[in-house]
Symmetry: D2
Subunit: 384 residues, 4 copies
Amino acid sequence: MAKRRVRIGLIGYKFMGKAHSNAYRQAPRFFDMEWEPELAVICGRDERALKAAADKFGWQECETDWRRVIERQDIDLIDVSTPGDLHAPIAIAAANAGKTVWCEKPLANSLEEARSMRQAVEKAGVFHAVFHNYRYCPAVALAFNMIQDGLLGKIYHFRAVYLQDWIADPSFPLVWRLDKHSAGSGAHGDINSHIIDLGRYLVGEIAEVSGHLETFVKQRPKLAATDDRLGGTASTEMGEVTVDDAAMFLAKFENGALGTFEATRFALGRKNHNRFEINGSRGSIVFNLERMNELEFYSNDDAEAHRGFRTIQVTDGVHPFTGSWWPAGHIIGYEHTFTHLVVSGFERMAKGENPTPDFEDGLRNQRVLDAVTRSSASRKWECV
Amino acid sequence: MAKRRVRIGLIGYKFMGKAHSNAYRQAPRFFDMEWEPELAVICGRDERALKAAADKFGWQECETDWRRVIERQDIDLIDVSTPGDLHAPIAIAAANAGKTVWCEKPLANSLEEARSMRQAVEKAGVFHAVFHNYRYCPAVALAFNMIQDGLLGKIYHFRAVYLQDWIADPSFPLVWRLDKHSAGSGAHGDINSHIIDLGRYLVGEIAEVSGHLETFVKQRPKLAATDDRLGGTASTEMGEVTVDDAAMFLAKFENGALGTFEATRFALGRKNHNRFEINGSRGSIVFNLERMNELEFYSNDDAEAHRGFRTIQVTDGVHPFTGSWWPAGHIIGYEHTFTHLVVSGFERMAKGENPTPDFEDGLRNQRVLDAVTRSSASRKWECV
Amino acid sequence: MAKRRVRIGLIGYKFMGKAHSNAYRQAPRFFDMEWEPELAVICGRDERALKAAADKFGWQECETDWRRVIERQDIDLIDVSTPGDLHAPIAIAAANAGKTVWCEKPLANSLEEARSMRQAVEKAGVFHAVFHNYRYCPAVALAFNMIQDGLLGKIYHFRAVYLQDWIADPSFPLVWRLDKHSAGSGAHGDINSHIIDLGRYLVGEIAEVSGHLETFVKQRPKLAATDDRLGGTASTEMGEVTVDDAAMFLAKFENGALGTFEATRFALGRKNHNRFEINGSRGSIVFNLERMNELEFYSNDDAEAHRGFRTIQVTDGVHPFTGSWWPAGHIIGYEHTFTHLVVSGFERMAKGENPTPDFEDGLRNQRVLDAVTRSSASRKWECV
Amino acid sequence: MAKRRVRIGLIGYKFMGKAHSNAYRQAPRFFDMEWEPELAVICGRDERALKAAADKFGWQECETDWRRVIERQDIDLIDVSTPGDLHAPIAIAAANAGKTVWCEKPLANSLEEARSMRQAVEKAGVFHAVFHNYRYCPAVALAFNMIQDGLLGKIYHFRAVYLQDWIADPSFPLVWRLDKHSAGSGAHGDINSHIIDLGRYLVGEIAEVSGHLETFVKQRPKLAATDDRLGGTASTEMGEVTVDDAAMFLAKFENGALGTFEATRFALGRKNHNRFEINGSRGSIVFNLERMNELEFYSNDDAEAHRGFRTIQVTDGVHPFTGSWWPAGHIIGYEHTFTHLVVSGFERMAKGENPTPDFEDGLRNQRVLDAVTRSSASRKWECV
């Protein structure tokens, strides 16, 4: 089989740039792929930092203007890994140029942007994907299969939290993620969007919501290094926090299930605590990203005296994706979820199908985010 | 020290009657009490079943009419352990007769009843208590102490669920707890009231709420044995479920903390999963009733490289109540929470103070329950 | 049914006296018993402390000489809850007097004593029991049933530890449990005997052992209060520790299974960590006394993709003993194991059968303890 | 800084070949390295399978005779990842040729071989390392640091198990790991050697042991595909299992600590359960490879009422190695331990130091393995 090389242009080289680069590099080392990614061009504004990242992550070339990357004929796929305010312009331009577009989550900073992006890829007829990578955690994929197979029966409850603590300290500075213009929102778009995606993936579409967004710490030290929106040391000057610190909402799914969602960056001790529990008429499931190689499962079909939540080590050859890595019990890590997303997306594209999740998922996610924001203002339930 | 014997009249002899009887019996066997309970009279309508319960639980006499118990001069304390619809009439009559009144939770089936009860005990000047027993779980009492000592700092989040699964099977019959007239509400009053009490105890008063009540299974088999509202076999005739199966709400506390509350009887695998997590500016705490001898604590004061949620075995002599039982690591059970409530209540009364929690707590709890019910109807936030 | 009252004479009124008293008191309150215990006489040497214990625990009368208790015609059952050096003389005298004899574990301070005790009860033809109470933990009883039903298949491994930390501090004084004359041995007889009993109960007889006993802290402060062997404050005078601090051994069971056993009082953080794991050809089981309401079970019969250790909450009506207490998920505590032992023992005696475990079990246990002690001296494997 | 490229010759391309290849590839992508590995030559006997592995893992060239790899002047480092019977011949030849030698564990199939290997690298004056990769688990490295800092005080107990279940099924075929000639021993050399290394690393040298090796299933189906010793389908012909299925031993460390070690491939449900607990005079530590991103720590220095085992998420920038990967709470996997070993080894070599652990560690490990084997035969304690 002659492999096809898909030449990637990656816009952004920080946290997500690093994670995506790794996924493109590692995917063909562990999986048999008909189409293989080629790390062609990486793009960022700070030339020196970009060059260092290119060397480190293994990219062939650098560009400092994303428009030039899109104009290049030798690039097949544009990966948008920038802060949220650049998602729409880059993705739309890339689609218009006929490129495959893969975009970090949340899809956009607003519902309007998300709609335009969805429209652009549809009109251009290009492949598109959004990096809701946690669907590609083997335990989550297993949960999906089990629900599809009816092992949970009719779903009554979806209960999800995404808890972090990295800004609980009030002296933590005003990085771009705390700026509405750059990030769109705070914990809401950053991590609520993840559990919304998991809820949609596993349970179904959300019909209506009642929510509340809160900013506990309203002023923080500005960054000393103004040329880098992503980090740096704190200055003595204070600035406004323009996004939420925490976001919580109740939900009714279209199929009648109830949902609770909570995202916060103020839960001391919780580092990356993306946890959900699903209760159905035949059983229940629990997942926690901090122990992402495990899935808890309670089956009401077990003998009455022997029922209990069992901890499945989702590391076996029979589980999704894990057979390509190591023997059972040899766990994988966070970055592998991106690798699986790449493997799956390329496999689908090789068959002429769009990857999943895609911009339509990103758009539906954004509708939920938007409805929660509206509800937080109106103090009542809002339809999605 | 001459001990004073407080003669109890217990109305109700099923689940709570059994638990309260045990508490009165056991309290003086493990704790030094100035005032001691005496199991004088137990009351119920089914004479034969009542007699058996009296023998089993160790009561001196039986009465089949609660009014007669209240009329007796030799009874000091009326314990109301009936279904909710009888709380108000019995408690008010008892208060009017000058008796100490201890009442099961939730205090009443409606806010109006709760107000009347609160008024009655106040007017009569009698001692009063409500059986929110989980405050008397040593781990919860320790959490309270730690919060009072500032170990959690400013509280940002209270996150509580009370999950059970005993009616998840649609063929489970229409017991009294599924009947609005008897029980007032379903999971909401029965178990949401517990976590509301814990929230109020540990974090403070709740200012406003947005909630939703749901009934998943709207019809169930009626009970074959109509003479017993508490249990029995299912008949072939179907009847309406008039209470909620699940109740969830968002809350804002007066002090600015955010709360999420969820109570359900449809969470397969969760038997008595009363779990809360509190995140503050200095640390976090987690409790789960199914492992009620443990308290998880994360302290941001620990050395940076060694921070983590620690599982305190709250079974040591230095912990609340536990020194009177067994050596460290020898756990206690559910029933002991009632014993501690009795010990504390009697100790306070011996000093001329009202027990805690009391009817004022019961009333405030009811206000929250009521606001959630209103919000579920109005589809918007409601003030408590 | 006319109930028979069995009048108890309890020798010893400290930790075990308190636990046994509670069991006798509570058993008939929760279980239907044909024969019921009556708390007749409690016996100890310190008259004042004894009187306080009698009042607290609910005994009718006191005696300060155990011989007088045995001589009384109105006493049916002698409960030996003294330090180990008095087990043999009291139990043998009681048997000779025709009394039922229930004795704390380990049965004796030496194999010779144990043999004499076994002989005495056999010759006298009286009922006898030994308080290896952990067999009566519902989770352990469930494990037994599951093994009997073949759910674990052929047993390959039994792996048990009993870890405590109450003497890890070198300034902890020389209580009776650290004195060979009173206690026979240290962690070995006190807590290794428990896990030996569990191994024998669940897996079978032990054929040979290789072991090691260690005393980490060889001198400790003597007790200031010499009149009380069980506790008190430390003096400035030092004395020899004459027992082991830790005891570990390898074992081969008669059926070919391998065993590892370790008992220590020097495992900081472990309060009452009696944990075992059993691996068989069809599944595995794990128990930990600190979470005694739970049993972990791995079944190889589960679907390949859904296998995992499940945590059974052994609190349901279908589980051993638990139906007589509270609804599912409402946990019980340490003391309930004694209550179950009393219920079971009385039920068996009412049917004319000896309780279980009995002196034969105590003797076989002692043979294992003795073989380990011999092996620790000989530095080689020893037959039991 | 001009980087030096170290050209690797890897002998073996199966499980360990895959893991080592990944480590060499990934190390420079996440860490700043003065010396960088270059994947030069991979070697194996089956030309076709070897070519596929070379492509997959990213090697420049293939060789089918390991002698030719050693003869090449352009190769700096020989990585021995073959079954155990080839460790000694390859490693000794490589040392004699002046190559750096990195060897999989256990170092050899016998103590004699290990001695010769140690002698060869010493005589040749070359760098040498052995792949006891679990030292490079961040949680284990953190445990090491904490012990060095005195946080555990004087060590009393080391308690380790390595439990797997991959051959619990008696119909699992006779792969090379079950053949004494190829593998030297069974669970003993394969996984006991891992926990012996951790014991030596964290606690110190082992002085004497009492052990037992057991083979539960003595005959198994031979492999149908005789040309591949590592796997394949089972035939109908049976063959002898010539290694142990399980190996357990007691140990005394030179510093007086007690140890228990158990390795088995017959613990159903345990996939890669490498767990140890260490109890010292100031605290305790627990590690489990299946949750390798966590370390449990109990500190007796905590306030008395708030002590408990805390679960440190060893994923923070302040922890060993983790800062080069992802933000806190974003876990890493099994393979990363090899990457860290490579990073550390190259860093040390760049400074002119030998990597750690090295052949001396491998030899000392082998002495313990050998003493246990002798003890299993002599039925008594043996000095290491």
